[in-house]
């Protein structure tokens, strides 16, 4: 069902998007301010369910690409994502009937709202990954047959570029990343132009409303002084993301972070409160691998989230700091993201991690088994 998104939805939505951002995706805060500005100027935004789309609708997702650690300083000028959309429309000779997120985590849950609010388009309630991933080809759209290009990328100076790599979405990512890096580490894209029928076939449904719901769960848990993690697990169990659980609790003792090849890369080290156990989390924009006492505990594409130990607020890799007391919370990715072709695109080996994907529930079970 379509619904009207108002300014009052934005705090919950950005909180939930930070959670699905799994440490990356860019801080949704700046995006939230942009979306709020657009709504204040042009009114509420219509969010369409996949079922509301006509087969011949023309949907163009919009997004930010680049290093989250650059975005927190180099916030946008405001014209970029709309410029990208217009550039792609000019190239294709068609006008978009809706925009949508490529990812429901982080700032990219908000960029399409900003675009929609600014130019008066509806936004589709769904995305291509149900979380955040660092690279543009990591999309169910592409996995199930829709190429990402032609893609338009724009900067704050009004300059734009077109990347057209045919069916090769990996190449598209490489070229677009190089352009984003030369634009100052962050660029804004319009990509994966799709028909309404394609969207219905390839998108993960209702992930914007999922972010909204998760954000609301966290806020209400805090208001009712319930354990936020318990509340999240309860909400998740009613969605495609059935399983979840805490794999580690402790204090951050080191964060290594660098801007490398257009990404924010690094790792965080944690030690348990009693000092007896350690956890290392590697990231490339998003958290990719959590190891507890040197054994894999959560592996991409399962969602690795780092929550403030008391309040349950998600902390991005960007904001993660020495001394933070946190819980590492695993969310099992939906089955459609665990298929062989999906794992081929965003499983651990796609990130150069020499491990097979094993669902976190099984990793947890095998650990218990071996310690008995």
């Amino acid at each position: 069902m379509a619904f009207e998104l108002t300014i009052d939805h934005l705090p919950d939505l950005s909180l939930g998007a930070a959670l699905l951002g799994t440490g990356g995706g860019g801080d949704p805060h700046a995006g939230r301010l942009l979306a709020a500005q657009a709504i204040r100027t042009n009114g509420n935004i219509t969010v369409l369910d996949l079922d509301d789309l006509a087969d011949d609708d023309f949907v163009v997702p919009t997004a930010m690409i680049g290093a989250p650690s650059v975005l927190v300083e180099r916030i946008p000028a405001g014209n970029e994502p709309v410029d990208a959309l217009r550039a792609l429309e000019r190239l294709l000779g068609r006008t978009a009937t809706a925009t949508m997120p490529i990812e429901s985590g982080g700032i990219n849950s908000m960029i399409p709202l900003f675009v929609a609010g600014t130019v008066g388009l509806p936004v589709v309630d769904g995305d291509g990954m149900g979380r955040a991933f660092p690279e543009l080809q990591m999309e169910t759209f592409g996995i199930y047959g829709c190429p990402g290009s032609p893609l338009a990328i724009a900067d704050e100076r009004g300059y734009s570029g077109i990347v057209d790599t045919g069916q090769d979405n990996k190449k598209m990512e490489k070229y677009a990343r190089a352009l984003a890096t030369s634009m100052g580490g962050v660029g804004y894209v319009a990509e994966y132009p799709m028909s309404g029928a394609d969207v219905k076939r390839t998108a993960i449904p209702r992930t914007l409303s999922l972010a909204l719901r998760l954000g609301r769960t966290l806020r209400e848990a805090r208001e009712q002084h319930r354990d936020p993690v318990e509340a999240l697990s309860e909400t998740l169990s009613e969605t495609l993301y059935e399983s979840s659980g805490v794999v580690f609790e402790g204090k951050v003792i080191d964060v290594l972070r660098k801007t490398d090849g257009g990404f924010t890369k690094g790792s965080a080290k944690l030690v348990s409160f009693d000092g007896g156990s350690t956890c290392q989390i590697d990231f490339q924009n998003e958290f990719l691998l959590a190891r507890v006492d040197d054994r894999p505990a959560i592996v991409v594409p399962d969602l690795i989230t780092v929550l403030h130990a008391e309040t349950g607020e998600p902390i991005t890799a960007e904001r993660l700091r020495y001394g933070h007391r946190v819980r590492v919370f695993a969310i099992g990715t939906p089955e459609i993201m665990r298929t062989p072709e999906a794992l081929d695109t965003f499983g651990p080996r796609a990130f150069g991690i020499d491990l097979d994907f094993v669902p976190f529930e099984q990793l947890a079970a095998s650990k218990i088994g071996s310690s008995v």
Partner: protein, 518 residues
């Protein structure tokens, strides 16, 4: 001996400590000019326990004065915010999220100028002298006295901020300029917000800090004066003059650390009831629980580390109204005018303090003046106050298990011991002066903030070196070596310099050596 002073909205508290022993503690009224209240407090201390000012080694002051100025949008200097970064960042100009009231109070003018750096040290656009000169003319005409300057990626490269400051100072030699790279860390909007807050407090800080130093000198003290900071550590008064924003959350931190010291409890809820508000926070392992990313001060988001505190408008000076069926308490307060306004002091206003006296919970002023209050109303008012504080305690608990509650602050006499969700209610000795005690036992920090060359494979050893240096500085500043802990490490690669240069900031904190002979 050391003296701890806490200047609150209503009361100025002072304690005299010898090591860990409280020799004297007093509570006096805060004055509109701050310093008179402090003079009175020091005199009251000497009356209670005569001492030689020359024997005092340090004076520590905690004040909520600066944060109150922001919250009340009062006493702020006309301030302009200038950001260097065009053509980027224009979508969210300076002051974008600020409450309208606060923007008006600082005559808030926001400017976007060319400048700023990319993450890799390239220039976004060159600084334009003419742009800044034109703005300076406008600011001069508008009577702006303080400027907050921010530049994209200034924690990586501060040159643009420094150059722009010198151009502006050429035109406006008398303005204060606050530079964002000296105030905050990576994260443009939050750093800029903190810088603007700092800028609009500079005049007030200068006035108060100068007044304080003079006051102490006149009273015969030659000990150094420290102000307590957000994180519970101390800074010298000269630093506070330039960075008042660093004192922001010291009030709750002091009262919570004072409560931990007095009660000996490490894990508990602390309720500090002052004249205007009750502040509720959680102690974990002896330290205030920290708020997460979104810390908003007077409606402005910053990225300071601050204790997670819930404030409600219940205090000794809260106005009590009896027009409806049930009496209401607060959220407005008579503030520092309690001793003129409250009924028990002969004033016309019914306050929470009058209720406490009428209920027989406190013996302050003239009890005869509240004899006419209906016992049912008095009981209902006491229950209302306790219920509101209990609900705040409830909101702060994140686990369902009850916690011990420590009540401190002069206003805690307003509350009964009947707390749902509390295992036990503690009212430690000297509870009324927990703030001042917290200031007096404030910790001392040592900081390293420098650019290091980090050769491949040497990161750990470079970090260790920075940590050791910060520790050594804390110890040199008077911290007990065994208590020093590293509390913050921040690393920003400075890509425009060769040799994998990295700006490393490390902060070490320890307890002040508490010996009587120091």
């Amino acid at each position: 001996m050391r003296i701890g002073i806490d200047v609150g909205g209503t009361n100025t508290d002072a304690v005299l400590l010898d090591g860990e022993v409280v020799l004297a503690d007093v509570k006096t009224a805060t004055s509109a000019d701050v310093t008179t209240g402090i003079v009175n407090a020091l005199e009251a201390l000497r009356r209670q326990r005569p001492f030689d000012p020359a024997g005092v080694h340090a004076v520590m002051l905690g004040t909520t004065h600066f944060i109150n100025a922001i919250v009340e949008a009062d006493r702020l200097a006309p301030t302009a915010a200038i950001r260097l970064g065009l053509p980027t960042t224009a979508a969210l100009p300076p002051l974008v999220e600020w409450p309208e009231r606060l923007v008006r109070a600082i005559g808030g003018q926001a400017y976007l100028c060319h400048g700023g750096h990319e993450f890799d040290g390239r220039i976004i656009s060159p600084l334009k002298r003419s742009e800044l000169v034109r703005i300076a003319e406008e600011l001069g005409e508008a009577g702006i006295r303080s400027i907050a300057l921010s530049s994209v990626f200034s924690p990586v490269n501060a040159e643009m901020e420094q150059e722009a400051a010198s151009i502006l100072l050429d035109q406006l030699p008398d303005v204060h300029i606050s530079l964002s790279h000296e105030v905050g860390r990576v994260g443009l909007l939050e750093r800029e917000n903190a810088t603007i807050i700092n800028a609009c407090l500079r005049e007030l800080a200068e006035q108060i800090c100068t007044g304080l130093a003079q006051t102490l000198a006149d009273a015969g003290f030659n000990a150094p004066l420290y102000l307590s900071q957000n994180d519970g550590t101390l800074m010298e008064v000269g630093y506070a003059r330039e960075y008042p924003v660093a004192t922001f959350a010291s009030g709750p931190t002091n009262s919570m650390r004072g409560a931990a010291f007095l009660s000996g409890l490490g894990h508990c809820v602390v309720v500090d009831v002052g004249g205007t508000t009750s502040d509720v926070g959680i102690l974990e392992s002896g330290f205030p629980r920290e708020a997460t990313a979104e810390v908003s001060v007077g409606g402005v988001r910053t990225n300071f580390r601050m204790p997670d505190v819930l404030s409600i408008g219940i205090g000794g000076g809260s106005r009590v109204r009896t027009d409806g069926d049930l009496p209401t308490v607060g959220p407005d307060s008579v503030g520092y005018r309690l001793r003129e306004q409250a009924r028990v002091f002969g004033g016309p206003t019914l306050t929470a303090t009058d209720i406490a006296v009428a209920a027989g919970m406190a013996d302050i002023g003239d009890r005869a003046r509240v004899r006419d209050l209906a016992p049912g109303m008095v009981r209902a008012a006491v229950e209302t106050m306790t219920a509101q504080v209990a609900s705040a305690v409830d909101q702060m608990r994140t686990s369902p298990e009850p916690l011990p509650v420590v009540l401190v602050g002069g206003g805690s006499i307003l509350l009964t011991d009947d707390f749902p969700g509390a295992t036990k209610v503690h009212r430690p000795d000297h509870y009324a002066n927990a703030n001042a005690i917290g200031a007096a036992i404030a910790q001392i920090g040592g900081e390293v903030d420098r650019i290091f060359g980090v050769e491949p494979g040497k990161r750990d050893s470079v970090l260790d070196q920075a940590k050791e240096e910060a520790t050594a500085r804390a110890v040199a500043a008077g911290a007990e070596p065994s208590s020093v802990e590293i509390v913050d490490v921040d690393e920003v690669p400075v890509a425009y310099l060769p040799g994998n240069a990295t700006r490393i900031r490390v902060r070490a904190v320890g307890d002040l050596v508490l010996t009587s002979d120091r």
